[in-house]
C-alpha cells in the first residue's frame, strides 16, 4: 500500500493494482491457514475431526474466492483509476502515522499524557487553532476520561510517570 510516488497524473497506485495486491495477500494468508491446519492435522482422527479440520476448509474457500477476485482483476480491463489522490493520501497519512506513534508512546507515558499530546498535535498543526482553543480541549478530554474511567466506572487505564508523580 505505498502510494507515495506522486509526481504526475500517472503516478500513484491504481485501484486495479491494489485490488490485485490485496487479493494476492488474502491468497497468501489462506495458504498460511491451510499450511498450519495441515501441520496440526486436518483429517479425521481417532475420536472425530482433528483441530485443523475446519480451518483447513476455511483456508480452501478463502483461497478459492480470493483467487477468483485476483484473476478477475487481472483479466478485466477497466479505465485506470487511482486508488487515492496524492493529496488525500497525505491527509490519511497525517492521521495514521501520528496515531501509530500515539499507540506506541502510550505504553511508556500512559494514555492520558499521550492523548493530550496527540490532541495538541492534531489541533495545532493540522487544524491551526490558537492555543486558547487547543489547550482546554487537549487537557480537558484526558481529565474527563480520567474521571469517567478511573473514578466512576473503576476501569484502570494505562498510566505513566505523571500519574505516579500525582499519586495514582
Amino acid at each position: 500500500m505505498d502510494g507515495t510516488e506522486q509526481k504526475d497524473e500517472r503516478g500513484g497506485v491504481s485501484v486495479r493494482a491494489l485490488e490485485i495486491f490485496v487479493a494476492a495477500l488474502i491468497m497468501a494468508l489462506a495458504t498460511l491457514v491451510m499450511y498450519d491446519s495441515w501441520l496440526i492435522g486436518a483429517r479425521w482422527g481417532a475420536d472425530g475431526p482433528q483441530s485443523g479440520y475446519f480451518p483447513f476448509y476455511i483456508g480452501v474457500l478463502m483461497f478459492a474466492s480470493s483467487a477468483i477476485v485476483f484473476v478477475r482483476a487481472l483479466v478485466v480491463r477497466v479505465v485506470r483509476r487511482r486508488f487515492v489522490e496524492p493529496q488525500q493520501f497525505r491527509s490519511v497519512l497525517m492521521l495514521l502515522v501520528p496515531s501509530i506513534v500515539y499507540v506506541a508512546v502510550t505504553a511508556y507515558i500512559g494514555i492520558y499524557v499521550a492523548s493530550a499530546l496527540y490532541l495538541t498535535y492534531f489541533m495545532r498543526l493540522l487544524g491551526r487553532y490558537r492555543w486558547i482553543v487547543v489547550l482546554p480541549i487537549a487537557i480537558g478530554v484526558p481529565v474527563a476520561m480520567f474521571f469517567v474511567f478511573e473514578i466512576w466506572f473503576l476501569v484502570p487505564l494505562p498510566k505513566g510517570p505523571l500519574e505516579d508523580w500525582l499519586g495514582y
Binding site: I40, G52, P55, G59, L119
Partner: protein, 505 residues
C-alpha cells in the same frame, strides 16, 4: 395470549427509575455516535461494553440497545442535513433527504425520517414479540446439525442478499472464520495459527476488530475527503411536525412494504443497508410518483428509513432466540450477553424471562422515547456536526484506543485495532463488505463446534445435513439464498436506480 402476559411482565421490569435513566442515556449517546463520523452502532456499543460489566445485565442491555436505536435515528440527521450518511444504512436516505433540505424542507424530511424509523421499529418489535417465543420454542428441538444449518443460512444470506461481489463477500467472511480459529482449540487443547507467539494465544477479539474496522477505518476515509461540512439549517417545530404527520399516512403502502422488507432482511441477515436500498428501489418502481424520487420527495425518505430501522430491530430476533446475530451491532450485543454470563439461544426464553421480556419491553419504550428526543433536539446535533473535524477526529481516535484497551487491558489490542483500521479503510475502498467478516469472527467458534458435533454424530458423513426434513429444509433454503444473485441479477439492476457504489453492508 402468552406473549402479552410476558410483555406486561417485561414492562414491569423495564419501568424502574434506574432503567428509564439508562434508557435516556443510551438514546442520547446513541444519537451522538450516530451523528459523529467514525462512531456508529457497532463500535459505539463495543467501546461502552466494558463499562457495563459491573451493571445488572437487564439495565446494561437496555442501555446498549437504546444506544443502538439512538444510532439508527442519528444516522438520518447527517444524511439529510449534510448529505453525509453517518451510517451505511442511511445512504439511501440522502437520495431524497438532502434535496429536501436544500429546498428548505429539512424539518419535513427529518420528521418523516424519524417517524418512519419509529414505524419500522414498531412493526419489527411487534413481529419480534410474537414470533420470538415461537422461534425459541421451536428451536429447542434443534441439535448440532440444525444449528449448523441455520448458521449456514446466515452466511449464505450474506453472500446472496448482501449485494456487491459475492467472491469478495466470501473472502471477507473466510478471513473472519480464520481469525476466529486462531488461538487455543477448546476441544483438543491444540494451539492453532499462533506461530509461537504469545499475543496470538488469546486469539482475535471481535470487539477489537469492530472498533478498528468501523471506527478507525471510517476516520481514515473521512480524513481523505478533507471533510468540509456544508450543512443545511434545520428548523423544526411543532407545526412542521404536525403538518408532516398529516401527510405521512398517504404513504402507508410504502411504509408497510419497507417494514416488511426490513423485518425479512433483519431476520435472515441481509442487514439494514441492503434492506434500505431494496425498499427505496421498490418504492420508486411502484409509487405513482416514482419519477419524483431523487429530487426531494418525502416518500423517498420514508421508504429507506422504515426498512433500515425495521431491519436493525428485527436483527435482534435471531440473536436472542438462536444466538445468531443478524447485524454487526447485534453481534456485539451477543458478545455482551456472553460476558454478562447469559447464554443466548432458546433456553434464554425459559431461564431468563425477566431479562428477555425486560429487553423487549424496553424496545417499545426506547423507540417512543427516542422519537421524542430526536424530534426535540435536532438543532443540537446539527451544531455538534459543525465542530471541525480536526478537533472531533483525534478525540474519536482517542476514544477508540481507550475502548480497545479496556476490552482486555492489553496494548497489543490497541495496535491490532490500528491494523484493523487500515484493513477496514482498504477493504471499504475496494468494496469488500465488512459485516460478514465481523459476524464470522463472532460465530466462528460456534459454527465450528456445531459442525464438529454433527460430524461426530454422523461419523464424518456430510449427509447428516440432509438427514431429516428440518435440517434438509434449512440447508435447501441456504443454498437457494446462496444462488439468489444468479436468479435475480436482471431484476436487481432495475431495483437499483443509482449505481450503488457506496453501498456497503
Amino acid at each position: 395470549m402468552e406473549a402479552i402476559d410476558a410483555l406486561f411482565h417485561g414492562f414491569s421490569v423495564a419501568l424502574t427509575g434506574q432503567n428509564i435513566i439508562f434508557m435516556f442515556i443510551g438514546i442520547l449517546l446513541g444519537v451522538l455516535i450516530g451523528v459523529l463520523p467514525g462512531l456508529g452502532g457497532a463500535n459505539g456499543v463495543a467501546i461502552l461494553l466494558p463499562l457495563t460489566f459491573s451493571m445488572p445485565p437487564t439495565s446494561a442491555i437496555i442501555m446498549l440497545s437504546c444506544l443502538y436505536w439512538g444510532a439508527l435515528f442519528g444516522g438520518a440527521i447527517t444524511s439529510i442535513l449534510f448529505n453525509i450518511p453517518g451510517e451505511p444504512w442511511s445512504v439511501a436516505t440522502t437520495f431524497d433527504g438532502y434535496p429536501l433540505a436544500r429546498k428548505g424542507k429539512a424539518g419535513e424530511a427529518l420528521t418523516a425520517a424519524f417517524t418512519s424509523s419509529f414505524v419500522g421499529a414498531l412493526v419489527a418489535v411487534i413481529v419480534l414479540t410474537f414470533l420470538a417465543p415461537a422461534v425459541a420454542k421451536f428451536s429447542l428441538r434443534f441439535g448440532p446439525p440444525e444449528f449448523f444449518a441455520v448458521q449456514l443460512l446466515t452466511f449464505c444470506s450474506f453472500v446472496g442478499l448482501g449485494g456487491g461481489s459475492p467472491w469478495k463477500t466470501v473472502a471477507s467472511m473466510m478471513i473472519g472464520f480464520a481469525l476466529a480459529a486462531v488461538g487455543l482449540d477448546t476441544v483438543t487443547g491444540q494451539l492453532r495459527m499462533t506461530f509461537g507467539t504469545e499475543q496470538l494465544l488469546r486469539g482475535f477479539d471481535f470487539l477489537i476488530a469492530v472498533i478498528g474496522l468501523f471506527g478507525i477505518g471510517e476516520i481514515l476515509l473521512t480524513m481523505e475527503e478533507g471533510l468540509s461540512f456544508k450543512g443545511e439549517p434545520a428548523k423544526i417545530n411543532a407545526r412542521v411536525v404536525l403538518d408532516t404527520w398529516k401527510e405521512l399516512p398517504k404513504y402507508w403502502v410504502t411504509s408497510l412494504r419497507g417494514a416488511f422488507i426490513g423485518c425479512w432482511m433483519g431476520i435472515t441477515p441481509g442487514g439494514a443497508t441492503p434492506a434500505s436500498f431494496m425498499s427505496y428501489g421498490l418504492a420508486k418502481r411502484f409509487s405513482r410518483n416514482g419519477a419524483k424520487f431523487g429530487t426531494g420527495h418525502i416518500e423517498g425518505v420514508v421508504a429507506p428509513e422504515t426498512a433500515a430501522h425495521a431491519a436493525g430491530t428485527s436483527a435482534l430476533l435471531p440473536m436472542l432466540t438462536l444466538g445468531i446475530p443478524g447485524s454487526p451491532t447485534a453481534a456485539v450485543l451477543l458478545g455482551g450477553l456472553l460476558i454478562w454470563g447469559l447464554q443466548p439461544g432458546p433456553m434464554l426464553f425459559v431461564e431468563q424471562k425477566d431479562f428477555v421480556w425486560g429487553l423487549i419491553a424496553s424496545m417499545y419504550l426506547g423507540n417512543v422515547v427516542g422519537l421524542i428526543i430526536v424530534l426535540t433536539t435536532v438543532p443540537w446535533w446539527a451544531a455538534i456536526l459543525k465542530i471541525p473535524f480536526s478537533i472531533i477526529g483525534p478525540i474519536i481516535v482517542v476514544i477508540c484506543a481507550v475502548g480497545a484497551y479496556t476490552v482486555h487491558n492489553a496494548f497489543f489490542d490497541v495496535a491490532l485495532m490500528l491494523m484493523f483500521g487500515v484493513v477496514g479503510y482498504v477493504f471499504k475502498k475496494l468494496d469488500y463488505p465488512l459485516a460478514p467478516m465481523v459476524l464470522a469472527l463472532v460465530l466462528g467458534d460456534m459454527a465450528e463446534a456445531s459442525f464438529r458435533q454433527s460430524m461426530i454424530l454422523s461419523d464424518g458423513s456430510v449427509a447428516i445435513f440432509w438427514s431429516n426434513g428440518l435440517v434438509g429444509g434449512i440447508c435447501a433454503l441456504a443454498i437457494f439464498v446462496l444462488f439468489w444473485p444468479l436468479v435475480s441479477e436482471g431484476i436487481r439492476r432495475i431495483f437499483r436506480p443509482r449505481p450503488a457504489g457506496a453501498a456497503q453492508t
